[in-house]
């Protein structure tokens, strides 16, 4: 209809129509955006807050107030220092201030003290707006964290059950390993009694039977000692240790085995060795294992001296401890397996010695490995990190 009027009027009229349509559309859009924001701000279960350039809270949404327990009004009226309320630990508080000041948009997990004193886990993200203020969005993940923790515990339980099952198998192995020498003890003991009761008593046979009894009893007790060490869950007691002193202690412990194995021991211990940080009993156990392995490796050697050389030396990492033997050495085919649990070349072994030794050394931050001896035998060696000056307790 307006098109039929004069041309100038029509154009104007026409233009004015467009103007109104545009404005209306812009207003609609604005209203829509406002509504979106309003909905997000009020109904979405996320904590939303706006902070001024100075980091002070300017606006929070209802979810924020519900979760934290304070309303913005209360905070303003009571002139609360919000940061002190929410983050009572000064160091932690400073960290939060820094995060707010940076507002890099990275997500961060915060521990927030609510009004009722509960500590809430909040997953939050802060971004900087163009006017220099910050927008923070957070979610209460306390419940989720608790579920995760429960789940983790359940998994730990499962691991424990699995371990128990493995223990059951281990127990069967132990029963066998202990029963064998015990059976031999009983039978040898009985034989000794019978040889002794003969007319006349056969003392030579009696003595041999008693020797075997003692040997088998030791074998049984060694199995048990190894198992016990294996099962001990006592947390290691870390202290400053003198490696050389421990080597000397272990040599005394191993005295009988060395004597029985016809082994000559030499030591080459580093003077003024630095103290290492470790658990005394575990370190003793590792050295003893290596010595017993060495004795065993030489048990069949008859054409050369059975010599064991224990060396300690300074090492960039701390101390290096070596056990050289003149035994049969390590079969290259088995070299890859000797550190695996239950791998053994000894008929009375259960194959835990090297595996346990390696875990102990690694738990101490050291390494355990072996090399072939220069002319024969093998060298088992491991490192122990040195103790820092800050590690208390003198040796």
């Amino acid at each position: 209809m307006p098109l039929r009027d004069e041309a100038g009027n029509i154009v104007k009229w026409y233009g004015s129509v467009i103007d109104i349509e545009d404005r209306k559309r812009a207003e609609d859009e604005l209203r829509r955006q406002k509504e979106i924001f309003q909905k997000i701000f009020e109904d979405i279960p996320m904590m939303i807050s706006f902070m001024g350039q100075d980091g002070r809270l300017e606006l929070v949404n209802p979810e924020w107030e519900r979760t934290i327990g304070w309303t913005l009004e209360e905070i303003r009226e009571q002139n609360l220092n919000l940061y002190t309320e929410l983050f009572p630990d000064p160091q932690y508080r400073q960290m939060v201030r820094d995060v707010v000041a940076a507002s890099t948009g990275e997500s961060i997990d915060l521990k927030v003290r609510a009004r009722d004193g509960r500590v809430i886990d909040v997953a939050a993200g802060l971004v900087r707006l163009s006017n220099g203020t910050s927008l923070g969005i957070g979610k209460d993940i306390t419940e989720q964290r608790r579920t995760e923790a429960a789940l983790q515990e359940a998994q730990a339980d499962l691991a424990r059950v699995t371990r128990m099952a493995a223990m059951g198998e281990l127990a069967a192995t132990i029963a066998h390993e202990v029963n064998q020498p015990l059976g031999a003890v009983v039978t040898n003991g009985s034989a000794a009694q019978r040889w002794l009761a003969g007319q006349p008593p056969n003392l030579e046979e009696t003595r041999e039977a008693i020797d075997r009894t003692v040997r088998e009893a030791n074998r049984a007790s060694n199995v048990i000692a190894r198992i016990r060490a294996l099962l001990q869950k006592v947390p290691p007691h870390m202290e400053r240790l003198d490696v050389n002193a421990i080597i000397r202690e272990v040599l005394i412990l191993a005295g009988n085995e060395l004597l029985r194995g016809g082994v000559v021991v030499q030591t080459d211990l580093a003077p003024d060795a630095p103290a290492v940080l470790g658990d005394r009993v575990q370190l003793q156990q590792v050295i003893l294992n290596l010595i017993l392995n060495g004795i065993n490796a030489m048990s069949t050697i008859t054409n050369r001296p059975r010599e064991l050389l224990i060396k300690s030396a300074k090492h960039p990492e701390g101390m290096l401890i070596q056990v050289h033997d003149s035994g049969v050495g390590v079969d290259p085919e088995q070299a890859d397996h000797i550190f695996e649990p239950f791998f053994t070349t000894k008929r009375e072994g259960i194959g835990m010695g090297l595996s346990v030794s390696r875990s102990i050394v690694e738990a101490h931050g050291g390494r355990l490995w072996f090399t072939a001896g220069s002319s024969q035998g093998a060298v088992f060696q491991f490192t122990m990190p040195k103790a820092d000056a800050s590690d208390e307790r003198a040796v």
Binding site: H176, N179, G183, T187, A191, R194, N202, R215
Partner: protein
């Protein structure tokens, strides 16, 4: 008696158990031979003497129960005493059903083992005697003539000479001669003795 001295075989893969058993068994004057595996035992020579086998159930390679079965299949009737580290009931039932003398759980009492060994050797000795006797009887039976072999079952089933003569279509006098010949060849001093021999040989008519 000029019987060879008894011998105890021990099969155990644990050297210290073997040595201990050897000493214990020797201490009561018995001869012992040690083997570390079923295979070694099967390969080894077994002297012709009363013997028994002390066998570990759990062996590397062929188990003790396997060895028991193989020996039975090969018709080797050596009495077996099982020793084991675990008192597994099912295993022991299986072993005992298959004819084991005893099933001992380590550590066992020395007397229990020695009693079992003596029992096993006694039973082996008796078995050997039975077998030797049976072999001897079979030899004697072979020496009979066909006619005497016809007369024998009739004699042991209690027929009179007259009845036998009638059955075989011959005279009583002839039967009498056959009868005395076969008694002599079988080395039987009396009819009851001949009956017992016939029983051992499984001759029909001997069991009424």
């Amino acid at each position: 008696m000029s019987e060879p001295s008894s011998i105890v075989f021990v099969v155990d893969d644990d050297a210290s158990i073997r040595d201990a058993l050897k000493s214990l068994i020797r201490s009561v004057g018995l001869q012992v031979e040690l083997f570390s595996s079923s295979h070694e035992f099967l390969q080894g020579e077994r002297p012709d003497a009363p013997s028994c086998l002390v066998l570990d159930v759990r062996l590397r390679g062929k188990s003790g129960l396997d060895l028991q079965r193989e020996l039975a299949e090969a018709n080797i009737h050596i009495p077996i005493i099982f020793i084991t580290g675990h008192g597994d009931i099912r295993m022991s039932v299986r072993a005992m059903k298959a004819g084991a003398v005893e099933f001992l759980t380590k550590p066992f009492g020395d007397q229990d083992l020695l009693d079992a060994i003596h029992e096993a050797l006694d039973s082996d000795r008796a078995r050997r005697q039975r077998e030797a006797e049976a072999a001897m009887l079979r030899e004697r039976l072979k020496s009979l003539t066909p006619r005497e072999r016809e007369v024998l079952p009739r004699v042991v089933s209690g027929l009179l000479n007259k009845q036998i003569a009638a059955e075989l279509g011959t005279t009583e006098a002839t039967v009498k001669v056959h009868r005395s010949q076969l008694m002599k060849k079988m080395s039987a001093e009396s009819l009851p003795e001949l009956v017992r021999m016939a029983e051992k040989l499984g001759i029909p008519g001997s069991k009424r």
